[in-house]
């Protein structure tokens, strides 16, 4: 009984902490988890050993809470993480029409549906079916990644070339954004090779190798743009109901579940890619379904990937959370699996309950403080965090990443191209020629 109470309390603590921290723009749960793991090692070095029943539910609470509540800064402060970049466009429309609260809550309902999907459908079925699927697909992961890269690069739509007579000038105008997108993918891919083969990050914190680059690619450009543009946000209304029904929830759950689940199961595929694929594949025309499905997708991706690490007999390590925890703990049985499923359910419920008050709180904050100052504050937090975890070299990597991350933003191409940092080197490695390219680059 005491054990159950301990799990419950630790889940609660982790959830509440991450819910509050999730409201800070630019802060990623994996950075926080990295800090916490460093703290656990620091304690262990001083003879204080924490039991898995303490830190595992705490971590689950962190992941679930963040994946649900991070919608708030994504929509209200325009500071999305990589997985939320699709939510933002429709989400910001809600914001600009004063319906930011409603947009956030709709995404929150999607997140709750995602938790239901995980606990009641994926959870019971995963130990039986996922190992079969993994066994069949594991020899083919390389081609799956390459196929997705091909789709990402080929499916971007030209933004220019809409006016004027036919000819090269029109073509050049149209290809400006596409070219910028390809260039971004190429640059971030090279950066990925450098960081994976010869990272300048100190070996002592190598587990956060890629973190400063990710922060630079995704978080910093948004903060900088917000600071530069300094857009005024209209007054936000707190609505008492949402313009959704059961059918919308069901359709969102199906679309988001597919995208997020896909991203959680396959290596290197992030929530952003899952969201893109699900959005295209399900061809959703209803904006509410679109926004809500992104909430489902985000929970499925972050929480699902973390949960899959604990599925008995699966042996799957996906997502930054699972990789961080892998050094600390190896799951062994259904004991942990049920514990984690329970923690997911509790954390999901608590997070959703906290969504409304925290959204109101952030809206009040926005009314009181200038949007530009909030962005400056967010940028400051990011810089301090990167410096604390990775040191000065981390800041340098972050700045380079920001330079690359700004290209798609300024040229109106897909920010998803920044994921070349993971996709390109890992796909090359999986196909067996990553080391050859690294050799050409002089990284070996």
């Amino acid at each position: 009984m005491m054990l159950i109470l301990q799990v419950f309390i630790m889940t609660l603590v982790g959830t509440v902490l991450s819910c509050v921290l999730a409201c800070l723009p630019g802060l990623h749960v994996y950075n926080l988890m990295g800090l916490i793991v460093m703290f656990i090692y620091w304690l262990a070095a001083r003879g204080i050993e924490l039991s898995p029943e303490s830190y595992l539910p705490f971590m689950v609470g962190m992941v679930v809470g963040w994946s649900i509540l991070n919608t708030i800064p994504s929509i209200l402060l325009g500071a999305p993480d990589e997985s939320a970049i699709f939510t933002v466009l429709p989400g910001q429309k809600y914001l600009m029409f004063g319906r930011g609260y409603e947009g956030t809550m709709i995404t929150g309902v999607g997140s709750l549906a995602g938790v239901f999907l995980l606990v009641f459908i994926i959870g019971p079925l995963a130990p039986k079916y996922l190992p079969v699927i993994k066994k069949i697909l594991s020899p083919y992961m390389a081609f799956i990644i390459w196929v997705i890269i091909t789709y990402i690069l080929m499916s971007e739509w030209p933004k220019g070339g809409n006016t004027g007579p036919a000819g090269w000038a029109k073509f050049r105008d149209a290809w400006k954004s596409l070219g910028a997108g390809l260039f971004t993918f190429f640059l971030s891919g090279i950066m990925g090779f450098i960081l994976m083969y010869r990272s300048p990050v100190s070996t002592e914190v190598a587990f956060q190798n890629i973190m400063p680059a990710f922060v630079g690619l995704f978080a910093v450009p948004w903060c900088l743009l917000n600071i530069i543009s300094g857009a005024d946000v209209p007054k936000q209304y707190i609505s008492k109901s949402m313009e959704i029904d059961g059918a919308v929830v069901l359709r969102s759950t199906a679309a988001g579940g597919l995208g997020g689940g896909f991203a959680a199961f396959f290596p290197v595929i992030t929530g952003g890619i899952g969201g893109l694929l699900a959005g295209h594949a399900t061809a959703q025309r209803d904006e509410r379904v679109f926004i809500m499905s992104q909430g489902v997708s985000k929970v499925m991706y972050y929480t699902g990937a973390f949960l899959f690490f604990f599925v008995p007999g699966l042996g799957l390590t996906r997502g930054g959370g699972a990789w961080i925890i892998k050094g600390l703990y190896t799951p062994r049985s259904f004991y942990e699996y049920y514990m984690m499923l329970g923690a997911v359910a509790i954390a999901g419920a608590v997070s959703f309950l906290m969504m409304s008050p925290l959204t109101r709180w952030v809206i009040k904050l926005m009314e009181r403080y200038n949007y530009r100052y909030v962005s400056i504050g967010a940028l400051a937090i990011i810089v301090v965090l990167v410096f604390l975890v990775v040191g000065g070299v981390g800041l340098f990597i972050m700045i380079v990443g920001a330079g690359i991350g700004l290209i798609p933003v300024l040229f109106a191409s897909r920010r998803l191209n920044c994921l070349g940092i993971l996709l390109l080197p890992i796909a090359c490695n999986m196909s067996g020629f990553g080391h050859i390219i690294a050799g050409w680059l002089g990284l070996l």
Binding site: L89, K135, P139, F143, D245, R251, R285, S431
Partner: protein
């Protein structure tokens, strides 16, 4: 169909070739990438290349400061009159009306064969997400109307909405019955959507990557051409031996959710099944019926039942976000 449907269909087509699966298992993704890339290539050629070089006879570019629906209607009627006087197709480009960084004036063009008229109606101002700006619709002088010189034959939708990014193209061509046939996007699904172009790509691919690529490219490309016949537009199947686009079978529209999702999902199941059956020494044994049952019939059935129950009381019209461009991509990037 949408880009992803064509793409994944091409990948699924590649998965039917045992050599492609065998190579993929050894880390070589070439054949699957070729299947997907050439599955989507016909649209890539049209939308990313050809349309920027396609010359129009008439450019209708409404003035953002003084947009006038009657002027647009008159220009369209002039184009029809011009087509009536010549044997060549008259190609007309309708431009979008950009009002600001994120605002566009929406307008709808409708050809009415019964009254032999073209109607242009100005709608609301929309943002790039095609969401109308409240109270932005003009209440007066928002409809233009012009009489057409000859009867018109619709081959696509009765109305065409023009709002964000690029505007549509119409082709007006006189037929043997003395009517004007209206071609929607005459630059689309022409040479690029033909089996002959597919064969040419396949031969070139075969010369570069070997005979395996030849089959995969042809399969991926052909699947695209065949899938496009399900819609309203069809394509020019054997360019240059055939000169006109075939009529589609009118089963679906390119942006419809259900056929697109069904295509994607069935393709995924076929890929999974092919990977399974071409992988040696797997400890599992199941049939395609099992894959279909657990992968499609049961989940789709449950979903359909749940959706039916949940939708019974809800007869409200959906608020649409139209992603009806060929790629459904306009709000995704």
């Amino acid at each position: 169909m949408k880009g992803i449907s064509h793409f994944i269909s091409g990948v699924a087509a590649a998965s039917f070739f045992p050599f492609a699966v065998h190579e993929a298992a050894n880390g070589n993704p070439l054949y699957f990438v070729l299947g997907g890339a050439f599955g989507i290539l016909p649209d890539t050629l049209d939308f990313k290349f050809y349309r920027f070089f396609y010359k129009h006879d008439i450019y209708i570019e409404p003035d953002p400061l003084r947009p006038d629906p009657q002027k647009i209607a008159d220009q369209l009627a002039e184009a029809v009159a011009k087509a009536a006087e010549q044997d060549e197709m008259v190609k007309v480009k309708l431009s979008t009306i950009r009002l600001g960084a994120d605002y566009w004036q929406q307008y709808v063009v409708r050809f009415d064969p019964d009254t032999q008229e073209v109607l242009v109606r100005f709608g609301p101002v929309v943002n790039t997400g095609q969401v109308p700006v409240p109270n932005s619709e003009q209440e007066e002088n928002n409809v233009g109307r012009a009489k057409l010189a000859m009867p018109i034959v619709q081959t696509y939708d009765a109305t065409t909405r023009v709002d964000i990014f690029d505007g549509p193209t119409f082709g007006f061509e006189k037929d043997e019955q003395g009517e004007i046939v209206l071609h929607f996007l005459p630059w689309h699904r022409e040479w690029s959507h033909s089996f002959t172009m597919g064969a040419l790509c396949a031969v070139l691919g075969g010369l570069i990557w070997g005979w395996g690529a030849l089959f995969v490219i042809m399969a991926g490309y052909s699947v695209h051409v065949i899938e496009d016949q399900l819609g309203f537009m069809g394509s020019n199947l054997f360019f240059p031996f055939t000169k006109k686009r075939s009529q589609g079978v009118h089963i679906m529209r390119s942006g419809d959710a259900l056929p697109n999702f069904t295509t994607v999902w069935v393709s995924c199941l076929l890929i999974f099944w092919n990977l399974y059956r071409f992988t040696p020494d797997l400890p599992y044994s199941f049939s395609f019926f099992h894959v279909a049952l657990y992968g499609a019939i049961i989940p789709m059935g449950l979903y359909a039942i749940a959706l039916h129950i949940l939708s019974r009381r809800d007869d409200e019209e959906e608020v649409e976000i139209d992603m009806a461009d060929e790629w459904g991509d306009s709000k995704m990037s």
